[in-house]
Subunit: 425 residues, 2 copies
């Protein structure tokens, strides 16, 4: 197979289809979404069979258990995929929304209209449900999509893709609005991320290696986050019960997500008072604490199990553990905390626990992260929790979209000018 030629063909078809889907009205798009959901429910057995083939190959190839976990689907996953699409159908259509339409002194009216980006290229690993989610979000936001899943999920993704195509056609839309790349040749990714004429933005979802490679090689804008080194800073005016709860939830509610807290900062004035309780809660859940000397002194004094305590090295302040480990540092005050976060953080999600009004305001303004949080868990940083309905990914970049990216992040705004024969003087 000539991969370059194949990808160029997908690109051209996507560009053409993008014009149709940009013009499609809300009803037609919702019709397609609901029809895709119905096809997925009806084909549940087929999807599970296709997935079973992928799982068999994956096991034969010795893939690790984390990857197998993400690859496997069951009846609940299938139902969730269908429900996810129905939820997207229920979201307001962002396309065509006109805002800020105002008369100017010249007599013209000027405003902004929300429009699709065009063609979105999505590159992801393992999870077959991303195929349905991404197809749904791109479709609803009026974009065409080229989806490139991992080779380990090929059969599962193709089974989902068949349902997507069917739903599009039922609604009278071209099946090429969503195309799933059918080759597992890695050159397909290389081609996808440089086809400037056919692809407007790339969204990579997966491990740091994948995202670094794509960011380096892409010649198209990339919406991405590399990693999430999220912080909780416990201020000396914190409510200590809230602090313990928030740190516990932010660290232990789920270990493998990018909005999980990886570093804890505690103001020196309250370290002796608050660290022992936090240490007991985390140690009780099997979390290893890598502390600065002061942290270790306090936690050792509080009789925390020695095998849960370790001296932090410089690299710990940068680390995304994605597991039951947390870095802990005692800092002077909010200024030191913010310097630490802005220097060592990943600009993803960072929280302060404080009852001090002025410090809360300063933290919100001065911490340079996609999400800044006062008195709540970093785990809230997610499209569903923020009310976006769903997310295509999370961005830690500042250009275009920041934080969880939903339907709106897949659109841009053009200017509309209304006159009645107006000319410029």
């Amino acid at each position: 197979m000539d991969v370059k030629n194949y990808m160029q063909t997908l690109g051209k078809q996507a560009r053409d289809a993008s014009r149709d889907i940009a013009r499609a009205d809300t009803n037609q798009k919702n019709h397609a979404l609901v029809a895709i959901a119905a096809a997925i429910r009806r084909d549940a057995v087929k999807l599970l069979e296709a997935n079973a083939r992928d799982m068999e190959h994956a096991r034969a190839n010795g893939l690790d258990s984390a990857l197998l976990d993400r690859l496997e689907i069951n009846e609940n996953t299938v139902t969730s995929m269908a429900e996810g699409l129905e939820q997207i159908a229920a979201l307001p259509d962002p396309v065509g929304e006109i805002t800020d339409l105002k008369y100017r002194p010249s007599g013209i009216q000027v405003g902004k209209m929300r429009v699709p980006l065009g063609v979105i290229g999505i590159i992801y690993e393992a999870r077959p449900n991303v195929t349905a989610d991404a197809a749904g979000l791109c479709l609803k936001s009026g974009n065409a999509a080229i989806l490139r899943g991992g080779s380990e999920a090929l059969h599962s993704n193709q089974a989902v893709a068949a349902c997507v195509r069917e739903g599009l056609e039922v609604a009278g839309l071209p099946a090429t609005v969503v195309q799933v790349v059918e080759t597992t040749d890695r050159a397909a990714v290389g081609e996808l991320i440089i086809m400037k004429d056919y692809v407007d933005v790339i969204v990579p979802r997966g491990g740091k290696g994948l995202i670094e490679r794509i960011t380096r090689e892409a010649r198209i804008p990339v919406i991405k986050h590399l990693h999430g080194n999220c912080h909780v800073y416990v201020d000396d005016r914190a409510d200590q019960a809230k602090a313990v709860n928030i740190v516990d939830n932010a660290k232990t509610q789920r270990y493998g997500t990018c909005n999980t807290t990886e570093s804890l900062l505690v103001a020196r004035n309250v370290a002796d008072a608050v660290l022992p309780e936090i240490g007991r809660v985390l140690a009780g859940k099997g979390v290893e604490m890598r502390g600065c000397p002061e942290t270790l002194r306090i936690l050792q004094g509080a009789a925390i199990d020695a095998d849960k305590l370790k001296a932090a090295v410089e690299a710990d302040w940068e680390e995304e553990y994605l597991g039951p480990i947390i870095a802990v540092k005692v800092v002077d005050d909010i200024d030191a905390a913010m310097v630490h976060i802005n220097t060592h953080g990943s600009h993803h999600t960072d929280a302060i626990v404080t009852e001090d009004y002025g410090r809360a305001r300063r933290f919100l303004r001065e911490v340079d992260s996609a999400s800044v949080v006062v008195n709540a868990s970093t785990r809230f940083a997610d499209g569903f929790e923020y009310g976006l309905g769903a997310e295509i990914g999370i961005s830690t970049d500042k250009i275009h979209a920041r934080g969880p990216v939903g339907l709106e992040g897949l659109t841009s705004q053009k200017w509309v000018v209304l006159g009645d024969g107006h000319i410029r003087g």
Copy 2:
């Protein structure tokens, strides 16, 4: 001089200064803007002397008259620079604005806060007033800036830069908030556009060659437009008097601007009725018309001066003439017009003249350009006319900012989350 090392130093200083300017309050920023304006007024003679040296070198080096035109400043230009800065001081501060703050079912409040991008790199040619404008826009939007003007304007730019530094210091801000590159070595541009750690976005302003080179080589997001091939489409339901006025203004009000119309499309049903009058007006102003065969037949029949008529070749549909030439084509209808615009246009600014409500709505939605205009001149597409106050440039890209880019285009939005001890369930 070690250019790489020099640029890295500017970069580091800009990154540090960006933290200070991001935190600066509105009063302090306005104070700096007004102080810079005062320094420029006071130093008018110095600025004109520095500019005279640049003009002398430029003439000695045989620079063309268009470039000399753009390079030259006079007392009015100096006053305009100062007034421009005072106008920026009078604009609302976009930084820190919180919008859409809503309670979510979990009990947290989620909203968006507008924040600076960080460090803006601006690369421009000739016009010394860009130094003052760009400095003012970056400062007000809370960004640090590295400005790299053309070597031909070195002395002028440095004289302006001295005023900028003085104003920043008067207001208690670091002089490094705005740095003007002091070397004319072209390697400085090459370095500026790859310093990912220190620069967040590049704004190139200048000829197509400069912008193509920067887009190709940059490893940082670029806000740009390559060229402006703007269209007016005269529909067969157009008010013909409006059509003639709008085409005249859009083509002839200024020839050298990117929002000047370069292509005219006319619906076949009204071509015989409307083209002769348009032809007479344009020919009377010395505009050459490059027409399709039907256009030529109609204009020749209307006794338009033969030396103003020429057969269009395929390349004319793509051309940005920046002069008294216009491409003219008779098309079937609005559908053909929109296909032509979306295919041959530059996605900058395109207008329809029509009294038909449905067609106006379709044109607004389906034409894929940064500005879409109904019954008004394309010449309105500009930051002042749109009410942005000033513009750093115009973008024909879809990611981040589209069309005229003002203060808001130099910011992004982060998420703010307010809770009261909330944890995720």
